[in-house]
Symmetry: C2
Subunit: 354 residues, 2 copies
């Protein structure tokens, strides 16, 4: 049987009218022997979706763009060389759908840094076919970027893990969050609330730095050992030389980076996974000289890391706090509410195109 | 015998008149049992001296400030508990003269990151006595911040190692510059020309990125494996995913940081030891996301590292290129010429106060 040729999705055509979603049909990825085609059940609403549809990261790369890269669905077709997945199986797709698979990065479980990677939406495959996202009926993806979802995790809970979860799990793992280490988590929303849980599950002591005192109870119940509000001058003083690693999930151009960096031990690192639209403000090199610290970024994670994350989440009962599950036709509302900071952790869209 | 109570130095009183050096006498550090007093023979002219006397890093902390922190001299007195040094011995002092010696950093060979550290000049000891620098007759320093100079190194060559040399040696060592690693060195002046030599001596492959084609021959003779000019668009392309670590010695607020960072392998680091007066410009977090890289700083080095550096320099014949040795009374000229970029590598001042 040939796989579905077309998908149907909620998309936009203009960053100025970023809540005006309409439904269109479009060709799915040109089928290949390693491809998995799935019917979508749920898709998380990620901050990246807002940056993209509002043009914050640049314009749209097509006349009609379907966002969404926290996708859960059921396999409807597999290519001839797919051995990992079967028709009917529940799987997930995150923020990347392709890479060259030939470069050193792809060959060393760093395919999330492949120079030829294709994003899940607002991007083109090498043959020119548009990659469209998960606010849609179905998607076709190379099996390297398809993940098995453990039975213990509900579909709606699994969806946000595939971008938000993996984006924080990968840098936590790579930077040694674990027993004996103290990790600071900055900015508690969709990413940060996963970061608390994964840092804790990996064995680290977790200190949350937040400008939202209203999130204290949630953070402590998610596993934070301490909750610190960043609005008082000198908030960082008690933590001088106490923190091994900071993961910043704050999607703002100005976080109190000097104060936060001053809590790091010698040679410590801040990784920022909240990517603002513009430049980093107020970043004086001198800020990092007092402890020889650094600041950097990270980009989602590898399949190996995604699988390890999902296993850990299943074992430890890690799951998102979902503010609301909305029908996919409410994508425009969801986007606007995320942009207006009216979501505390995550919205998930539920399929309604069938 | 009691040690000298006073020093005499060339200093300035006003950042607006930063070349108006005059000679004044001032009390040396209050003597302690671990102190070493020395008569100064040579002092290097560091970029930090220019930042300080011109007010680029902030105002002067005293009415009369004697710069200089690349100091070579002969011991004239040692405190009762000094065992490492003897009267008459040739020693060096760098950019730090004190720390608490009690904190975790001091106790773990990270005294260069002690929160209570005292800079060699434009700073005060805990008892309020001013620390004055090496454009002077003599200095008294706690023995933790005094270094033995190996016989094989000439005094004028050793002087610039104590700030410029150590400032590049420490981050190279801490970030794994060594066999099998490719290190990029950016900005070739006083610091950078040491960085080439130390990175090579530590066993790394060295690629120089410079905007000064005129320095190519020097860089290759200092040990660089490749010399790349950064003025051509696309200069970085051939080095994609090739570089493990970048040490930037460029004292400018805008280096082509995005292009440079793109050459790093996944998770790579840029350390900047050239500290501009202002903020980093053009630093978009996204720049570092394509390879999960980071950018940070480093602050001089520890005594353990200084001793290892001097040993390596003696063994491998590492030495600075000294543009000119000037009498100390020409401090104002030297400062102006460094500010005007009229020095290629290093000026060294020679004692003329005796």
């Amino acid at each position: 049987m040939s796989p579905t040729t077309h998908g149907k999705g909620y998309g936009i055509s203009d960053t100025k009218n970023y809540t005006d979603f309409s439904v269109q049909s479009y060709p799915l990825k040109t089928p290949g022997p390693h491809d998995v085609t799935l019917d979508i059940d749920f898709c998380g609403v990620c901050g990246s979706d807002v940056h993209t549809v509002t043009g914050g990261w640049g314009g749209l790369n097509a006349d009609f763009v379907v966002p969404g890269h926290e996708i859960i669905g059921k396999v409807t077709h597999v290519g001839a060389e797919v051995t990992e997945f079967k028709v009917g199986q529940r799987v997930g797709v995150g923020a990347q759908v392709f890479g060259c698979l030939k470069c050193e990065r792809c060959k060393s479980d760093n395919e999330n840094y492949c120079a030829e990677q294709v994003d899940t939406y607002n991007a083109k495959y090498p043959d020119g076919v548009l990659a469209q996202g998960g606010y849609s009926s179905s998607i076709r993806v190379h099996d390297r970027w398809v993940f098995t979802i453990p039975e213990a995790i509900k579909s709606e809970d699994a969806a946000p893990m595939l971008c938000a979860g993996l984006t924080v799990y990968s840098p936590l793992l790579r930077n040694g969050a674990g027993p004996g280490k103290t990790v600071g988590i900055v900015g508690i929303g969709g990413l940060g609330h996963f970061a608390i849980q994964f840092a804790k599950a990996l064995g680290a002591r977790v200190i949350v730095f937040s400008h939202s005192p209203s999130k204290k109870a949630d953070c402590l119940s998610l596993g934070a050992d301490e909750f610190v509000t960043t609005d008082k001058e000198g908030f960082e003083k008690p933590f001088f030389d106490k923190i091994d690693y900071i993961l910043s999930c704050a999607d703002v151009e100005t976080i109190p980076i000097g104060e936060l960096a001053s809590t790091l031990k010698v040679g410590g690192l801040v990784t920022s996974v909240g990517l603002p639209d513009g430049e980093w403000k107020g970043l004086q090199p001198q800020l990092m000289a007092s402890n020889g610290s650094s600041i950097g970024c990270s980009h989602i994670g590898s399949k190996k890391e995604a699988n390890a994350m999902l296993k850990l989440a299943a074992e430890k009962g890690i799951k998102p706090i979902i503010d609301e599950i909305l029908p996919m036709s409410k994508a425009g509302d969801a986007i606007q509410r995320v942009k207006d900071n009216k979501v505390r952790y995550r919205f998930v869209l539920k399929q309604d195109l069938k």
